[in-house]
């Protein structure tokens, strides 16, 4: 079947119209050939068509006698009936997917997840309604035409012979589509006249009208071809026996009624070619096989027919084809490569010739992508570009081989901490490796991930490093009561301890710990536990009045009552109450600020979502020493409140770090106040998701000098553009990190300076 296709192109290329006509006949013949495939297409009407035809909208068109029709006529008839049902907009560019339209125009409003295709159609503005309107117009025109052609149709149909078995299935469709078929024929004959006259008149009464428009490759008739292919494919799905060839067939049918057929159908009174004709055509086709490549060129240049042909002419694996380069005969496989200009296929040998070049190109592309990825990863890890220091190199190497290290020796506490960080990140801090860090004279120990460390090993810290003054343990889920008890008695110089994730340690143990350590304790941090409750807090306040640092992070049972107790800690310098599960309101926080606010250097109230501007007022009045302020996710804070906090805040000399992440009400005026007050002292500024900051918010950058600013987070602020980042870089000479996740206006063109980490830019991430 497909070979026949090639033959056609060949014929057309060789000597124009006469051959074209013959070819058309041949094509039709090939459709009529009593092969199994053809029958499958033509004999049974696709069930879904029948379903459509029972639609009341079509019922009008069902009148008229039920006639037996020839299969090929039937095919067209069913196509045209489909056409009336699924109107097609001639100007749409994506007609290949038209079959979606009926689905979209369905009256029920049920909506589910959309396919990419549906999204695409929606983006491109292909709407079902518009298409329907156009179709209605076209249908009206077609109906008028059909009336005109009624006579001719009647004659034509009388001549049609049909020997099908299952007419019953198709009876109604035939009746319905006969008018359309007539219309089609009329159109064709009209077109024939037009061509003869040299007028080139374009009949736009149906979708076939725009076939000669150079730009119409995707629209009009080809789209119908697509729709029809779909139609055939639908029937294929139901019957499961039709092969791909039938799809080609529908293209063929399309091409057939498009242009080539114009003359043929006009002249061919007889629908069924004689045997002699068939034979002749077959012979002609055989002869023409070799030259098909060149002819494809001719066709594909200027008409959508060419496009259809090109698409349809991809041979299926297993066929015999002729190499586009050396013209040798070969069997098509799924791996056959296409020819140099995309036409034809290459034989195995010719295909192999180009292989190295293609492989190299692919490698290069992959390498480029990998480079982009690794670059983005390095940015995330804050890896500085350029040569690493020898110390960094060694630290990484040691961390990599940490399991083989027997002792770290005197590498300095800085390097030790670095190694600890790296192996914590790699999750290789274990009972074995933790021993490497237990140097007898250490005063500060930090373990960043103790999840693999047993309580016994944690206990050893107390035994090996009795000189500890400060101990930080994170994710120490295996820590038990006796471990903390042991620290309390063993670590005589302990001043500060932070334990996060120790959910096994009981409240009684905390109480015992505070009683034992007593006034010695200057800093205490606890988090991720539900066992630290009011009693423990009372014990803390009673026993450790000199506490300077208190961090309560993600603690379940910290509520207003509990917090009021903190007013008994007048020496607090650092206070963190973050991500509490209980609803914490303004009043206890204000009380605390009134007692210890004047000395506070760091205040962190992240995630206490009920706090309002009243807290800001308290901060404004009392926190003169404040340097670090974190108010993340306090959605109730208003722009006015924030403006007021920073306006005339002469008590305070300027913040070093400010976190307003997701304080969504912050606006331009508030940011301007922040910059006025703390612009010169800020080192870190987090404005993540402050979405109200519009383009006017960045005006402050012209007049201020942020000489200490090192880190800034502008993620998800939509007004951030290249200009904003460039201005920011201009006013802040030591800026190192800029986070710009979700700032989609930022392009690759932004001028950055050496050593700056711009993290999260879309252009870097999308490869």
């Amino acid at each position: 079947m497909t070979t026949g296709f090639h033959e056609r192109t060949r014929l057309e290329g060789e000597d124009g119209d006469g051959l074209r006509e013959g070819l058309t006949r041949q094509l039709k013949t090939s459709l009529l050939l009593p092969t199994r495939r053809t029958r499958q297409v033509t004999l049974c009407p696709p069930p879904f068509l029948l379903q459509h035809i029972s639609d009341p909208a079509v019922a009008v068109r069902r009148k008229g006698p039920v006639r037996k029709r020839h299969p090929i006529r039937r095919l067209f008839a069913s196509q045209s009936s489909f056409q009336t049902l699924t109107p097609i907009s001639p100007d749409s560019r994506i007609s290949g997917h038209r079959h979606r339209c009926p689905t979209m125009s369905r009256p029920n409003n049920v909506r589910g997840p959309n396919s990419a295709l549906t999204e695409y159609l929606r983006e491109k503005g292909v709407s079902a309604r518009e298409i329907q309107a156009q179709a209605a117009r076209r249908r009206a025109e077609a109906a008028a035409q059909a009336e005109q052609a009624a006579q001719a149709t009647a004659e034509d149909q009388d001549g049609v012979q049909n020997d099908d078995d299952d007419d019953d299935d198709e009876g109604e469709p035939v009746a319905e589509s006969s008018a359309a078929g007539a219309r089609r024929r009329t159109t064709r004959s009209r077109r024939k006249v037009a061509t003869d006259d040299g007028e080139g008149e374009d009949g736009d009464e149906d979708g076939d009208g725009d076939e000669y428009m150079p730009d119409a490759r995707w629209s009009g008739s080809e789209g119908e071809a697509g729709a029809r292919a779909e139609q055939v494919e639908n029937s294929k799905k139901r019957r499961r026996s039709t092969t791909t060839v039938t799809v080609n067939l529908s293209y063929l049918g399309e091409g057939l009624d498009d242009s080539v057929t114009a003359e043929a159908s006009a002249s061919a009174g007889k629908r069924k070619p004689t045997k002699a004709q068939l034979k002749k055509l077959k012979e002609a086709a055989k002869k023409s096989k070799k030259g098909r490549k060149g002819d494809d060129d001719d066709l594909s240049d200027n008409s959508d027919l060419g496009f259809v042909l090109q698409r349809a002419s991809i041979p299926i694996p297993g066929q015999i084809a002729f190499c586009a380069e050396c013209n040798c005969r070969f069997t098509v496989t799924p791996y056959s490569r296409s020819g140099p200009n995309g036409e034809g296929l290459l034989c195995h040998l010719c295909g192999k010739k180009n292989a190295p070049v293609e492989v190299a190109a692919r490698k290069k592309k992959l390498a480029g992508r990998a480079h982009k990825k690794s670059h983005a990863r390095a940015l995330l890890d804050r890896n500085t570009a350029g040569v690493k220091t020898l110390q960094e190199l060694c630290v990484q190497l040691v961390a990599k081989h940490i399991d083989d290290v027997e002792a770290l020796g005197s590498i300095g506490s800085y390097n030790m901490d670095k190694i600890c960080q790296i192996i914590s990140k790699n999750r290789s801090l274990t009972d074995h490796t933790i021993k490497l860090f237990l140097e007898p004279a250490e005063e500060v120990l930090r373990f960043y991930d103790c999840s693999k460390i047993q309580s016994n090993s944690l206990r050893q810290i107390g035994a090996f490093v009795p000189t500890l003054r400060r101990l930080d343990l994170r994710f120490c889920g295996r820590m038990t009561d006796d471990c903390l008890d042991y620290y309390a008695t063993q670590l005589r110089q302990l001043e500060s301890i932070e334990i996060y994730g120790a959910f096994n340690v009981t409240e009684e143990c905390y109480i015992r710990f505070f009683q034992t350590v007593g006034k010695r304790l200057k800093g205490f941090g606890v988090g991720d536990t539900s066992r630290f409750q009011v009693a423990a807090m009372e014990a803390l306040v009673d026993n450790c009045p000199d506490l300077e640092m208190l961090r309560l992070r993600t603690i379940t049972h910290i509520d207003d009552e509990c917090l009021r107790l903190l007013t008994g800690l007048p020496n607090l310098r650092v206070l963190e109450i973050s991500q509490s599960d209980q609803d914490i309101t303004d009043q206890p926080i204000i009380d605390i600020l009134n007692t210890c606010g004047s000395a506070l250097q760091e205040l962190n109230l992240d995630g206490c979502a009920l706090l309002t501007d009243a807290v800001l007022d308290a901060i404004h009045q009392s926190c003169g020493q404040l340097e670090i302020l974190s108010l993340e996710e306090l959605g109730l804070l208003t722009n006015e409140g924030l403006s007021k906090l920073f306006m005339d805040w002469s008590v305070n000399e300027g913040l070093k770090s400010l976190n307003l992440c997701r304080c969504v009400c912050l606006e331009a005026s508030g940011l301007a106040r922040v910059a006025d007050h703390s612009g010169e002292t800020l080192q870190r500024l987090n404005l993540n998701s402050c979405k109200e900051l519009g383009e006017d918010a960045w005006g402050f950058l012209t007049g201020c000098h942020m000489k200490w600013l090192e880190e800034v987070d502008l993620s998800f602020i939509r007004s951030v553009t290249d200009t904003v980042v460039e201005d920011l870089l201009r006013v802040s000479p030591v800026l190192k990190d800029v986070n710009v996740w979700g700032c989609h206006k930022l392009t690759e063109a932004v001028q950055l300076r050496e050593g700056l980490h711009l993290i999260g830019r879309e252009a870097d991430l999308v490869s």
Partner: protein, 104 residues
């Protein structure tokens, strides 16, 4: 104190087992410690003798250090992909101590 440096010519690094490595001064100044030694204002004897004796380094380590100096000079300010500097794992800890000392 201002830094007065003469980075012309070369200097000699001597390991504790007597091996001598002669490298350009500019290259060796990748180490802050060595640079400080050659600061005229500090008046270290090394600056006069143009030679540094490292009592705590053997030839193997010192060679690696010199190799790193050259690596750093070659790839400083290099835009493309910088190849990894190869360190044998068994040398890593010792080299780290040395690197800490040399501030490089």
């Amino acid at each position: 104190m201002a830094e007065v440096l003469d980075d012309q010519g070369s200097l000699t690094l001597i390991s504790n087992d007597g091996f001598q490595f002669v490298i350009p001064k500019k290259t060796a100044f990748a180490s802050k410690t060595i640079r400080n030694m050659f600061n005229k204002n500090t008046g270290y004897i090394e600056a006069k003798e143009n030679c540094v004796r490292f009592e705590e380094m053997n030839a193997v380590i010192l060679e690696k250090v010199c190799e790193y100096f050259c690596y750093k000079e070659k790839y400083a300010g290099f835009g493309g992909n910088i190849p990894d500097f190869n360190i044998p794992p068994e040398m890593a800890l010792e080299l780290m101590t040395i690197a800490d000392f040399l501030e490089t």
